[in-house]
């Protein structure tokens, strides 16, 4: 009975925002490590997205917070308290899984009330809180339906209402939009953003393999690959200065150009780099100023340049041959062959776009050409 009282107390104490801390959390199945030493701080009230391809361990990370998988190593803290050993029903965390897992034998309102009954919320308060939770997701009119009588999008709203009804401090969302069609997904994305504006103290850990979802919702993004967290930062940080090739490619089509460091750059924190062609020789005589450090002269590295940060310059910069020109409304997308590399350039709509075969020169500011893995702290 004390356990029940405890969990009610924990839920009632939901006013204080709570962060999640992963400390070296490692999970294995049958000897295969599927989550490898995850260390991550999700700040109170923050929306953190875990982004990565399927099978990278995102769901496992989420389930370890909910208490459905037991880490073989490492600790998990919620609001500064070690919850690694706490059984799931005493964690007071809201979770929405990919399949929604709405109880098929209960009506919508009964589904939402279930958590309140389990938390021993006084019986008289339950109807109002159910109505409140369903109202938040716009499902008040469907209270007496059964889950099977709802569309995928409606089921998803109910699942969110059910998770929010217990007023958790932390909400875990596992690919909540993956079962919806593209149009619904966009609408739901906006609603999730609105929900978080209404509940600013709610900490959200959001798992997805879709970078648009992550970029739209998240304050910070953790990128997962092969059971490891490979990068973490704000969308802008990751986009501008990804830690490695995988992150750069995963987050929307960066140009990655192999270079050889030839010396120090014009300013502190910059280096001079020469482009390396596919056949390995330094292809451009004119070195490029890039941001980064820790790479010795003579060593090779990859430099990351986002398509919209490249400019068509008059007579300075990297020479290249235009291969293709696409008009995309607000921008012209050019594919330019630079020393054998196909480089994508998004230029604001050009009055007189170059024709394929023409020679152009591309320039980029030193702070927008970032050596992979060296652009940021640690």
């Amino acid at each position: 009975m004390t356990a029940l009282a405890d969990s009610a107390v924990e839920a009632a104490a939901a006013e204080q925002p709570a962060g999640i801390r992963f400390e070296d959390v490692t999970v294995s199945y049958h000897g295969t490590t599927v989550l490898d030493g995850l260390t991550l701080d999700v700040r109170p009230g923050e929306v953190m997205a875990l982004l990565g391809p399927s099978g990278s361990g995102k769901t496992t990370a989420l389930r370890s917070v909910a208490g459905f998988v037991e880490p073989e190593r490492g600790r998990i803290h919620l609001a500064g308290r070690d919850i690694t050993e706490l059984p799931p029903h005493r964690r007071g965390i809201g979770m929405v899984v990919q399949s929604y897992a709405l109880f098929p034998h209960m009506r919508v309102d009964q589904n939402v009330a279930f958590g309140l009954q389990a938390q021993r919320v006084p019986r008289a308060e339950i109807p109002a809180r159910v109505a409140d939770a369903l109202g938040k997701v716009g499902m008040a009119d469907y209270a007496r339906r059964h889950p099977r009588e709802l569309s995928g999008g409606q089921q998803q709203r109910v699942a969110i209402a059910r998770a929010l009804a217990i007023r958790p401090r932390v909400l875990l969302l596992d690919e909540p939009l993956s079962a919806l069609d593209a149009q619904l997904r966009t609408g739901m994305l906006a609603e999730l953003a609105r929900l978080h504006r209404e509940l600013p103290e709610l900490t959200i850990l959001y798992v997805t393999h879709d970078q648009i979802e992550a970029l739209t919702l998240a304050d910070r993004i953790g990128v997962m690959r092969d059971a490891k967290l490979v990068d973490c930062g704000t969308a802008e940080e990751l986009y501008r200065a990804p830690r490695d090739e995988f992150v750069a490619r995963f987050l929307g089509g960066a140009n990655l150009l192999p270079v050889r460091i030839v010396g120090d750059g014009p300013r502190a924190g910059t280096l001079a780099a020469a482009l390396v062609g596919p056949d390995g020789v330094d292809a451009s005589a004119e070195p490029l100023a890039v941001t980064g450090g820790g790479v010795a002269a003579g060593e090779r590295a990859l430099v990351c340049v986002r398509p919209h940060l490249l400019r068509l310059a008059g007579d300075a910069g990297l020479p290249g041959t235009v291969v293709e020109v696409q008009w995309r409304g607000a921008v012209h997308r050019l594919t330019v062959d630079v020393a054998g590399h196909a480089v994508t350039v998004d230029a604001p709509e050009l009055k007189a776009p170059p024709a394929p075969g023409e020679t152009v020169r591309l320039s980029v500011a030193a702070e927008d050409a970032v050596l992979l893995g060296s652009g940021r702290r640690g």
Binding site: A66, H89, A101, G115
Partner: protein, 265 residues
């Protein structure tokens, strides 16, 4: 239509009749006819009568029917409880214990029921476990025989049940007991009622183990039918057999209604 040509369809229907009627339907029909017969010396029965039913619903025969019903209900309920409990335990257990349980609950099916009867007779005929000569030993034998079916039915359903439901419930703060009572058992209800029906039907028809164990005060219906026909009272036996079928069918139908209601929710 799987079979396109009309002639081919007719041939298949005919084949079905030829195979089905003699093997499955005819014995039942004969029993029903015999139960209304006063005599059957020629090709067809004669002297139609309701006397067999009058006898079947009075005295020792009525007592046998009640005995069977009580035994079957008791054995089914115990078997369902024990079988469900064990099946859920196996579902949650590690691979080792799961194998042991799966094996243990196959035994009563694999071992001939005569052997089960003999085993109980030997085990329970000495103090302190002196059940021999009491109704309890008959109920115990039936329970042992049908629990395996309850176990297997619930076990299969529990394996198919998506663990996400129980996890979602736990995540919402439900204790394991609440998860069991409000989520898992309701979701397993269709297979629970199916198992209950199966156990009941098996118990109602059980003869071989019962034969070795029953005390004179606790004579289930199959024993009574056997005794009557053994004595040559074929028509009374037939009336009792019809009652046995009817009672079993009635209970199965009632239990089936619970199942459909659970499915429709």
């Amino acid at each position: 239509m799987l079979v396109p040509s009309r002639t081919a369809r007719r041939v298949i229907h005919l084949l079905f009749l030829v195979a089905f009627v003699p093997v499955f339907a005819l014995p039942f029909a004969v029993i029903v006819v015999a139960s209304f017969a006063g005599a059957w010396s020629g090709a067809l029965p004669s002297h139609p009568t309701l006397g067999n039913y009058a006898a079947a619903t009075s005295g020792d025969s009525l007592h046998a029917l009640l005995t069977s019903l009580i035994t079957a209900v008791a054995a089914s309920l115990i078997a369902l409880t024990v079988g469900t409990w064990a099946a859920l335990a196996a579902d949650a257990a590690g691979r080792g214990l799961r194998r042991v349980l799966d094996g243990a609950f196959v035994l009563p099916v694999a071992v001939p029921s005569v052997v089960v009867g003999l085993g109980l007779l030997v085990a329970f005929s000495k103090p302190p476990l002196l059940l021999n000569g009491t109704p309890a030993i008959v109920i115990a034998a039936h329970t042992v025989l049908v629990t395996a079916f309850a176990y297997q039915s619930v076990r299969a359903a529990a394996t198919r049940l998506d663990p996400a439901f129980a996890q979602a419930a736990a995540g919402l703060g439900a204790t394991p007991l609440r998860v069991l009572l409000r989520i898992r058992l309701p979701l397993l209800l269709p297979s629970l009622t199916a198992a209950a029906g199966l156990c009941f039907a098996l118990s109602m028809g059980e003869l071989s183990a019962t034969m070795m164990l029953y005390p004179p005060s606790w004579t289930p219906l199959p024993i009574r039918i056997f005794a009557l026909t053994d004595r040559g009272s074929l028509f009374s036996g037939a009336a009792l057999a019809v009652l046995l079928m009817a009672a079993t069918l009635a209970v199965l139908l009632a239990v089936g209604r619970i199942r459909t209601r659970a499915d429709h929710r």
